[in-house]
């Protein structure tokens, strides 16, 4: 009887051992994706999903990571916090992923944070909100540049042009609200006064009223914070009103789409942007150039449209994960630790340096200033 039990338990134990050892080296590493492919933020989620799919395929074609394939399990969150929480739970409990990429928006990310923190699964968000990584959460990283970095870029440029009073015009969604907060927060230290603080709705058809009010203020420049199509309407309305103030936009519109929508009204507009849209004109010495060109060309070959910096967030997330898995054993805890040890990673969004105190990892060098000239993006020197 005793013998039987001993034999049995040895069998089970060794089986378990073989199973765990084997499973770590043979089974594919599952990573989860939470992207808002439909719903209002689909302009973020779609390129992110496309990029993540493309990158995972590419990695698998070239032999995977240390001989193990990657498997991407992805769910559409529709930009809805409730669905994001459900999907994250499903990824962790049902699909048993080792790490999660996404969600696309700050709101969804904030909703998902308690879920991943409880489960101990690393998350690389593709959203920009500063709240995601400040204060630092053990398991949460992000690849999208902080809004504050974009704000600093604009304020630096304003100071250089000796402009000190600005009007801000922000959209009433998560992106705009976060931008507005940062614009107000950084103004005093940068010697900038906000003389008009206007808001528009994401579905508004006409922003003339806000612009007229701004015209009546003492503003020397306008900063508009939103994602397509709102800022394009602002640009057009400003042109219609004959407003001659310099117009700044956020990185939310740094894609060809903005120029297409705003048409001639886009000329001369300046905005901080990741380097994706100016990849071709960057100096050869730029450390990011190699990654940028690889991403832009691959995306174009795959999807026949230009890759934008939103897709770039997912590119960075997949490649950061890849390098973290390469350096460790691929378990969630090791991925997290190795992510935190990432130094000098030359990605699309910038050069990442994660530390235990900083899970966003970028400096304001992540942004360059670009302007529209003859319907093309040009670098501002």
């Amino acid at each position: 009887m005793l013998k039987k039990i001993i034999i049995k338990s040895i069998c089970i134990f060794s089986l378990l051992l073989v199973f765990t050892v084997n499973s770590w080296s043979q089974e594919p590493i599952k990573i989860g994706g939470l992207f808002a492919v439909t719903g209002p933020p689909s302009f973020l989620g779609e390129p992110e999903r496309n990029t993540a799919n493309m990158m995972v395929d590419q990695i698998n074609k070239t032999g995977g990571i240390k001989g193990r394939k990657l498997k991407l399990v992805f769910y559409d969150t529709q930009g809805d916090a409730t669905k994001a929480v459900q999907a994250a739970t499903r990824l962790i409990k049902e699909d048993r992923v080792s790490a999660i990429i996404g969600p696309s928006t700050t709101g969804e990310t904030m909703a998902v944070i308690p879920v991943v923190e409880n489960a101990g699964i690393p998350l690389i968000s593709c959203a920009a909100g500063i709240k995601i990584t400040e204060p630092v959460k053990k398991w949460v990283f992000k690849t999208a540049q902080n809004d504050s970095l974009a704000v600093e870029r604009i304020y630096d440029h304003l100071r250089k042009r000796n402009l000190h009073s600005v009007a801000i015009l922000t959209v009433s969604d998560g992106f705009g609200a976060s931008g507005r907060e940062q614009l107000k927060l950084r103004a005093r230290d940068s010697g900038i006064t906000i003389v008009a603080d206007e808001i528009y709705g994401p579905n508004d058809t006409d922003m003339t009223a806000q612009l007229v009010k701004i015209r009546g203020s003492k503003a020397q420049a306008i900063i508009c914070w939103g994602t397509n199509p709102g800022p394009a309407k602002v640009a057009r309305n400003a042109k219609q009103l004959g407003l001659s103030l310099p117009l700044y936009m956020s990185h939310g519109v740094s894609s060809k789409k903005f120029i297409e929508l705003a048409g001639d009204a886009a000329e001369g507009i300046t905005l901080p942007s990741g380097r994706v849209i100016v990849a071709n004109v960057l100096a050869k010495s730029d450390p990011q150039k190699k990654s940028l060109l690889a991403f832009v060309n691959d995306y174009k070959n795959h999807y026949r449209v230009e890759g934008d910096h939103f897709g770039g967030h997912a590119w960075d997330a997949v490649m950061l994960l890849k390098s973290a898995i390469e350096r460790g054993d691929g378990s969630p805890a090791s991925i997290r630790n190795e992510l935190e040890n990432t130094r000098n990673f030359k990605g699309i969004g910038g050069i990442f340096n994660f530390t235990p105190q900083d899970h966003a990892g970028l400096t304001k060098d992540a942004f360059v200033l670009v302007t529209v000239k003859n319907r093309e993006w040009m670098l501002v020197k």
């Binding site: 439909t38 409730t82 944070i113 969604d173």
Partner: protein
């Protein structure tokens, strides 16, 4: 009466034992949301199915409950239970006050007024950034806890939420079986007739509107403390529409139908995940087809369908025999 009791007992037993068969997993998490939406759908059904008063702004009460609970606990560090009680009472008061002017309206006008109310409340959530956190949402809402038990896992939340669901359903079934329920049904059929029979129509309508608001606020508070994060997008116009759909699909006036509706509409997207981009089309089609062919909802529609199928099969068999 006995039948109602049996139904309730079976339901409660099923709810309590269900997790034993599910072995944890993410489905428990989905069921937590099914529970929250069941409370909301039952609340709307009391108003719409029982009293015949439409509301396209139900998400406003849901959101107010969530935000009052969330702000009190996250910003002012109140005890979550105290916050929940305050949220429920406050929303009840708001619903009572709003009910008097709004419920004077009927039919489409009532629909429009409640829709307007819902959208205005949604805009307030977005714009009062200093209080609600605006569009980026409010995080850091604590879990509920009793004694040493913190409701921080799906399984614990399941029992927490579903205890409230059971209480809600018990109260609602009682209400609809009571004298008040009969008076409300009388209003549904003909307000004038009800008035002639001595029913205080106006007060009763406002009261049921308040009860509906209170249940919705309870659901909101539960949502805030289980998800620990709220943002205006979860309480928009589309949520009101979704709730309406749950009630219609489940069956107007049927309390258990509302549970069915909530369960189906919450679980359906889980099944649709394989359709990816197509799910919005499938959702629209299902909505149209179900309302067209089962206007009484699943509760009445499925038995009817089964019966007519049975008749057809029998007819088919007999015709085969004759051949």
């Amino acid at each position: 009466m006995k039948r109602e009791l049996m139904k309730f007992l079976v339901f409660a037993a099923a709810v309590l034992t269900a997790p034993l068969f599910l072995k944890g997993g993410y489905i428990v998490n989905v069921l937590v949301f099914v529970g929250i939406y069941t409370i909301l759908a039952v609340a709307l059904n009391l108003l719409l199915g029982l009293a015949g008063q439409i509301s396209l702004g139900q998400a406003a009460f849901f959101g107010l409950g969530a935000y009052i609970s969330g702000v009190l606990t996250a910003t002012y560090a109140a005890n979550p239970w105290v916050a929940m009680v305050i949220a429920v009472i406050a929303v009840g008061a708001i619903a009572f006050a709003l009910g008097f002017p709004i419920l004077k309206l009927k039919g489409h006008y009532l629909a429009m007024a409640t829709l307007g109310m819902g959208i205005i409340v949604y805009i307030i959530f977005n714009e009062t950034v200093d209080i609600t956190g605006g569009p980026s949402g409010l995080s850091g809402i604590p879990n509920l806890s009793i004694g040493g038990i913190v409701f921080n896992t799906d399984m614990k939340n399941y029992y927490l939420v579903w205890s409230f669901v059971i209480v809600t359903i018990l109260l609602s079934v009682n209400l609809s079986q009571s004298r008040i329920g009969r008076a409300l049904r009388a209003i549904h059929d003909s307000e004038v007739a009800a008035r002639i029979l001595g029913v205080n129509v106006r007060l009763l309508k406002v009261q049921i509107f308040t009860v509906s608001g209170i249940f919705s606020a309870l659901a909101g508070s539960l949502y805030a403390h289980t998800v620990q994060f709220i943002s205006p997008a979860s309480f928009g116009f589309n949520v009101s529409i979704e709730l309406l759909t749950m009630v219609i699909i489940g069956g107007l006036g049927s309390i258990y139908g509302s549970f069915l509706g909530a369960a189906i509409l919450t679980l359906l997207p889980e099944l649709f995940r394989t359709f990816q981009d197509y799910d919005i089309v499938v959702y629209g089609t299902v909505l149209i087809v179900m309302t067209m062919f089962m206007p009484g909802g699943l509760v009445r529609g499925v038995p009817l369908l089964a019966r007519s199928l049975l008749v057809r099969v029998k007819a088919g068999l007999s015709s085969e025999k004759s051949v």
